[in-house]
């Protein structure tokens, strides 16, 4: 790629010949343009979070988008438990009978309450297994319709779009980008719900009503967009794509060998690639004398490694002749 057809993703201008260019997932930026979409400051330690195509610093990402816990109302950083139509800190999501943590033990929804398996079995055995409709207080036979955390007979509601009477398959839409909460906090029949184009998570196949990650041509719950190798969520950190799968930096490099030729480490900043190899910017050097090379330095190929002009000229004449000949047939063959 030549500088002539490289443009900054933010401001659209080109780059100066000597200018440092930020390359993030194939998008190029002036260093001054690679900033948080909210506070316009550079990202501390280069860490940023991506949401709907915009990049945010960690602080602003949390203020704007981090989920709040349904119990303590604090931001949730790290593991988010999505259950009972809300988000929870793992320590805040507990059995409503015995107060035991449910995050790893699993839970059962019983009459609109989250219960551990033990309490659920006990309450069921007590003969309270039927739901009671929140509106008419009658017993519900079969599955109830769930709405704003309560249970109802489906026939108390109609679809907000087509007016058809609803049953337990009705979907509650809690919020959608571009709509006020009152517009969308409604119930829809399955058919109308599907037509609304609410994105479906590529991993769990459930609708995504909050933060959406769009990648690999699909939508994902933030918690469900994970490295194909270690299964840790990216949470807005850089991911690397290969053959339709996404990987964290460490595993992408481990699996696909994009380590620096000199230090054999994952390349943290800009990457220099040449001769089927990659280098950290400060490790790209002549393989004969270790003198640093830049993108603008002329170098010779020597066993698929760079040799600077000074070194090449110090090679034995006899070797230079052979390299020149070898060079000729390599060029012809390609």
């Amino acid at each position: 790629m030549s500088l002539d057809n490289m443009f900054c993703t933010r401001c659209g201008d080109g780059f100066e010949a000597n200018e440092k260019i930020v390359n993030s997932n194939g998008e190029l930026w002036h260093t001054n343009c690679f900033v948080c979409a909210q506070c316009f400051r550079v990202f501390p330690e280069g860490i940023f979070y991506e949401f709907e195509g915009r990049k945010y610093c960690e602080r602003d990402f949390q203020v704007l988008f981090a989920p709040c816990c349904g119990k303590c109302n604090e931001f949730i950083i790290g593991r988010v438990i999505k259950a009972m139509n809300a988000n929870w800190h793992p320590a805040c999501f507990r059995c409503e009978e015995c107060n035991i943590e449910l995050a790893d033990a699993g839970f059962i929804k019983h009459a609109g309450r989250a219960l551990c398996h033990g309490c659920n079995a006990r309450i069921k055995a007590d003969g309270l297994q039927n739901y009671m409709c929140h509106k008419c207080h009658g017993v519900i036979d079969g599955e109830p319709l769930r709405y704003r955390g309560e249970v109802y007979h489906g026939y108390h509601f109609t679809c907000a779009t087509c007016g058809v009477e609803l049953d337990h398959t009705a979907r509650e839409v809690k919020n959608r980008p571009g709509y006020a909460a009152n517009d969308v906090n409604n119930l829809f029949c399955l058919r109308c719900h599907d037509k609304m184009g609410i994105p479906i998570c590529g991993a769990c196949r459930r609708p995504i009503e909050e933060r959406i990650v769009t990648a690999l041509g699909k939508h994902w719950h933030v918690e469900h967009f994970v490295c194909a190798k270690c299964e840790k969520p990216f949470h807005g950190h850089r991911h690397y794509e290969k053959k339709g799968l996404a990987y964290c930096e460490q595993h992408y490099h481990q699996l696909f060998g994009n380590l620096c030729y000199v230090c054999n480490q994952v390349i943290a900043g800009d990457v220099f690639t040449a001769l089927n190899k990659a280098w950290c910017v400060h490790h790209f050097a002549c393989s004969v004398c270790d003198a640093p090379l830049s993108t603008r330095s002329k170098f010779y190929e020597y066993d698929e490694r760079p040799a600077c002009r000074r070194c090449y000229e110090k090679f034995p004449v006899e070797l230079r002749k052979r390299l020149r000949r070898a060079h000729h047939y390599t060029v012809r063959r390609n």
């Binding site: 000199v262 066993d303 110090k314 090679f315 070898a326 047939y329 390599t330 063959r333």
Partner: protein, 271 residues
């Protein structure tokens, strides 16, 4: 020598861990004042000097990670180098080595070993040479190998192997065990066939390098090579080739070509 002295003094002053003594007219490292006391340095580049002997005391530089001795007049290396605990990259290319000291393969963490353009062959390698399991690149181009020892298969981490312009007559099947190999340079040798196992290596991807030009290939390999190295790999995996290879190996036809005249090589110069 005053130029070298200046570099050392400056490095000491600013505590620079990387020392460049490239092309400083050094003939004897023992005459570089204070060099062996720089125990904290991580890189020492001595390319393009006239060093004949590498003193064993160089191994006092316990923190060295990169040692570059390219293009000197070195005929012998001290065994002590192989005890450097952090040495990752050793470049002794363009010297006058006829052999390596016994036990030289003891490097604990060596990753890149460059012995290009010397006078080495399979008979002058130390017995433990192929025990350096940490090696990811081994450059042996421009030497005098006719055979490659089958122990090459031990170098499980090897990603790059260059044997460009040796006198190789055949390659052991064990090369096929180097599953991480991404670069194989075999151009300008005396090879006729390749072990079929090479066909199973991942050398056809766009990041891989397979150099086969200027050998004495049997006609079917030569034909595939005209289409590209990936076609050679396809062919090596075929049943037809398996048959051809086993017939060739049992017939033992005369070795083609001659050892190149290397009298003009700088590595042959007498001191």
């Amino acid at each position: 020598m005053s130029k070298a002295k200046k570099v050392i003094e400056e490095a000491k002053e600013i505590n620079n861990p990387e020392i460049d003594l490239v092309d400083k007219g050094i003939t004897n490292l023992e005459e570089v004042p204070g060099l062996f006391n720089l125990a904290n340095i991580t890189r020492l580049s001595l390319s393009h000097n006239k060093i004949h002997t590498v003193p064993a005391a160089l191994a006092n530089l316990m923190n060295l990670e990169i040692l570059n001795l390219a293009n000197n007049h070195i005929e012998e290396l001290p065994l002590s180098l192989s005890s450097l605990p952090k040495l990752r990259i050793l470049n002794v290319s363009l010297n006058r080595l006829y052999s390596l000291p016994r036990g030289f393969g003891a490097f604990p963490v060596l990753e890149i070993l460059d012995l290009t353009y010397n006078n080495l062959n399979e008979r002058t390698l130390p017995g433990n040479f192929f025990m350096m399991e940490s090696l990811r690149a081994l450059y042996l181009g421009d030497n005098d190998f006719e055979y490659l020892p089958p122990e090459i298969g031990n170098l499980k981490n090897l990603q790059i192997l260059s044997l460009r312009e040796n006198d190789l007559i055949e390659l052991p099947r064990e090369v096929g065990q180097l599953t991480r190999l991404r670069e194989l340079h075999l151009q300008a040798n005396r090879l006729v066939v390749l072990p079929p196992e090479i066909g199973s290596l991942d050398l056809a991807s766009n990041k891989a390098v397979l150099r086969l030009e200027a050998n004495f290939w049997v006609p079917p390999i030569e034909d595939q090579l005209k289409l590209g190295p990936s076609h050679v790999l396809d062919y090596l995996r075929s049943e037809t080739y398996r048959v051809l290879y086993s017939r060739h190996m049992s017939a033992k036809p005369p070795t083609p070509g001659e050892v190149r005249d290397k009298s003009k090589k700088a590595s042959r110069a007498k001191s």
